[in-house]
Structures are given as C-alpha cells and as structure tokens.
Point group: C2
C-alpha cells in the first residue's frame, strides 16, 4: 500500500516542468511513522527548513497537512518520504523569484526490521564510488543523489550497506546511513563539513552520547580505524542503531555501546 | 507553445516514483531544432549514449520517435529537451535490473538570439558557486544540477552568463555554455576531466580549430588568462559561438576567431 500526495492533493503524477526532475533542485526527508505519528518530526522539519534556506527555496508551512496525511494513513509502521522542490518553471536554470515550491509526500507501509540485524549485526563493503568535497551542498539531504545511486548499485546480496569514502580516502558515511565507531571507549563519527548527509539519528546519537557520559569525537576517520575499532555501528531513522559485524569480509567485534545507544534512542521505534 | 511527451505519449505528467525526480538519476540533452529538424542530432545521441553507459542506464532506441515528434512540431526554430531517467522504482537507492528507463521530450518554440549578441558580445561575471572535482560524473549532462541552479541565481540583469571555477580556482565553464579564449593566436579551452559538461558545440569548435588550422590547447585555465585574453567566447548549441565583451566589468577585446568559428559552424543555425 502506498499513498501519494502532490501539494496536498492525492495523486502520483507531477508536471515534468518540476525542477526536482529537471535539475534535482530540491530536498527530501524520509520519516519513520508509527501508528500514524511521524517520529522525530520536528528534527526532520528543522533540517528541511535549514536546507531550504541554504538553497533559497521558500518552504511552505505544511506541517499540519503532513501530520494529517500520516495520521489518516493510520499504518502501524510506515515510511513517509517528503520531497520539496523549488517548483515548476520554464526550461533553463533561471527561476522566477515568485515560483511556488512543490511538495510530494508518499506514505508506504514498512515491515519491521529483522531482529537478527540488531543481534548479529550487518555486513558492509567499501564502495568504489567516492564523494567529492563540496561545502556548498555538504550535510543537506538534497535531490542530487547520483553518488548514492551508483554506490548502492555496487552492493551485492551479501552486504546490507556500504562504506563511502571521500576522494581523499577518509570515511564519510554509509550509503544508507551514518557511521560511528568506538575506539578505546570513545565514540567517533566522521566530520561531514565537506560532504555527506547529516542524518537525523546521527544528531540524536551525538546528543545521547552526552546524556550517557560517552566521550564523542567528530573528525576525519581513516578506513583502518573502522577495521580496528572495538565496535562499528550505523544509524538511520528507519533502521535505528545497527551494529556492524563485518567490513569487506573482515570481522568487527560487537559491543555494548551500540546496544546502549539503541536502547536509549529507539525503544519507541518498536525495534527492541 | 510547448509540446511534451512521456515515453512517446503526449502528456506532461510523470509518476513521482521516477528516479529522475527522486535522485536526479538520469541525463538530458538540449537540442536545437530548425524547421522540424534536430541539429547535430547524432552528436547529442552519442553523448547521451555514452552517459547512459557510464551510469548503467539502458538507453532505449527512440531516435525515430524523437525525429518524428520534432518534425511533427514543425517549428521554424525550437528547443527540444530530452530527459532520460533510469525509470520508476520503489523507494530507496536500489533499483531492479529490469527497470525500464523513462524518457521525457519537450519541444518549445525558441526566438532567434538577438543579433547584437554576436556583434557586441555578452557580459559575464565570475560566480561564487564553485564546481567540485568529481571524475565519476565529469563531462556528463546528468540531472544533478544544483551547482548550475545556484550559479545561475547569482547572475543579475547586467550579465548574460557566468564564469564557473572549480574549487581550486581554475576556470571550468560558463553556467550556460563552454568557454574558450584566444591567447597569442592559440585557442584554449578548459580541461573538463574533473568537472564540467562536455558541450556538443565545444566538441565542434575543437574539431573546427583543426579544420581551420588554428592551434588548440585543452588545459587548466587561470582566471587572469581570461581577463588578459585576446578574445573570449562562449559556446552552446542554442546560442552558437558568442563573443564576450566583458568579465566582471572588465573589457575583453573582440577579435576574428570567434567570428570565423561561428561562420564555420553556425551558418545553418540561422544565427548569421
């Protein structure tokens, strides 16, 4: 079952003049919904608002409509994907200042993740597709996602996510997630000021580290640090905090930090 | 007047599941059409074919349909924009191997450029928006075009195009065009192996230099070389070869090379 709405009207067809199609000129959010309620909604909204500000897209006030559509869908567990584009315009990069953004909401039932993921961890591989440094777009969940598409296409059946490096060879993120590691009791996560997506759950994990008294460091991370870590885990709002059991076929130990953070953050997500 | 076709059927509405919208997962071509005939069609097709191969998109054989639609439109001067996306798929970067690409063709009447552009030249400004190095996507006319959107938004009413630099400060291209300069009788154009779009008319100009016995060099170009050039000109298939009269308010001399290349390449484009 999938519902879709365009500018608040039920429908699944968008004008081809939309600049999301033409240029990837927009942003998106992927929101976990439980029993008709969007989880971490205000964090998603704040990231979207900040991204729209950076791209000079006039985000319309649609929060009430989003909540209503998600509540109406009344699904026990669902994913809501919201795309906001700059709007529809005539051919060409130029855009009239008065253009009205388009927003597209799709809501689809989503199965609960397999509990084995949390118990046994997932396997990762390092992708050949590398991310360019680009401060202009770094951190945003914008619609220019060819790198993720190409990286995802590298993953075979044997792995559940990929490690994406930047062109300098530092670890940046998962294809579908953000990455964390534990090193002698400290929690590390890659600096995303040059590339990568600042995930909602990444922010939550960073805040939870402070709450739980775990030392946290945000900095460049080398691939060997992942392989030599005491724990590695990935985060996204749909899957929660997921331990990693191997990278490129090399075993990674499981440990208490991922479990502790998951219990702290995801108990309400019906993932426990 | 604008015509639009989706997978060969007249229409202007696309499923929101299309991966062009979702991820910018596709490519496009912008084709000049004169009296119902696509100009330089096989060059556009070859670039599109090569781009699809790089992105592993299975380009459908639609050349006959494209020619027929453009002929049927029977416009004296028009722009045909063709978008090819990987197709429609369920949410997520993963894409089934069997997905059928979508293609979207729009044809719109286009006025002839103002002859004053060719006589007097156009004014450029240097954009703050810079292009990241990214061999993976360099050269292709893909749908991830946020840099061009942001650069175009910088241009005021006083300039007709912008100079885009890479993050290292080298000149790469115009926002709407490729860039050439003439330096002591030699024609120079930026190397696009790290970023930028390999324009169809850029390739034609490079070939024409050989035909005309003009020395041609493709290499990194510094901004001061543009300002100190004997001539600067921009190229794209819609506007042809257009001399530049100023960059950031500084006068650039006009000269014979742009005129010679324009006469060689664009006489059939009704731009003379």
């Amino acid at each position: 079952m999938e519902l879709s709405f365009i500018n608040g009207q039920a429908g699944h067809l968008l004008p081809v003049a939309d600049r999301g199609l033409q240029y990837g000129d927009g942003l998106f959010e992927t929101i976990l919904c439980l029993d008709g309620a969007a989880q971490r909604f205000e964090l998603h909204w704040e990231r979207l608002r900040a991204g729209c500000a950076r791209l000079a897209i006039a985000l319309p006030e649609i929060r009430a409509e989003l909540h209503a559509a998600i509540a109406d869908a009344a699904l026990p567990r669902a994913v809501a994907k919201l795309i906001v584009t700059r709007g529809s315009s005539a051919r060409g990069y130029a855009c009239p200042a008065a253009v009205a953004p388009n927003w597209i909401l799709t809501i689809a039932a989503a199965p609960s993740p397999d509990p084995a993921r949390y118990r046994d961890g997932i396997a990762l591989m390092t992708c050949h597709t590398r991310l360019p440094h680009d401060r202009l777009l770094a951190g945003m969940k914008h619609l220019n996602r060819l790198h993720q598409v190409l990286a995802r296409a590298e993953l075979g059946e044997q792995v559940q996510d990929g490690v994406m490096l930047d062109q300098q060879g530092s670890v940046i993120e998962g294809v579908l997630s953000n990455l964390f590691l534990v090193q002698r009791g400290r929690v590390l996560t890659p600096d995303l000021s040059q590339c990568g997506v600042c995930g909602i759950l990444r922010g939550e994990v960073m805040a939870a580290c402070r709450t739980l008294g775990l030392a946290l460091e945000v900095r460049a991370v080398a691939p060997h640090e992942l392989l030599d870590a005491d724990e590695v885990f990935v985060t996204n709002v749909l899957g929660g905090v997921v331990p990693v059991r191997s990278i490129d076929g090399r075993d990674i130990p499981r440990g208490p930090v991922a479990r502790q953070l998951r219990e702290q953050l995801c108990h309400q997500d019906a993932l426990a």
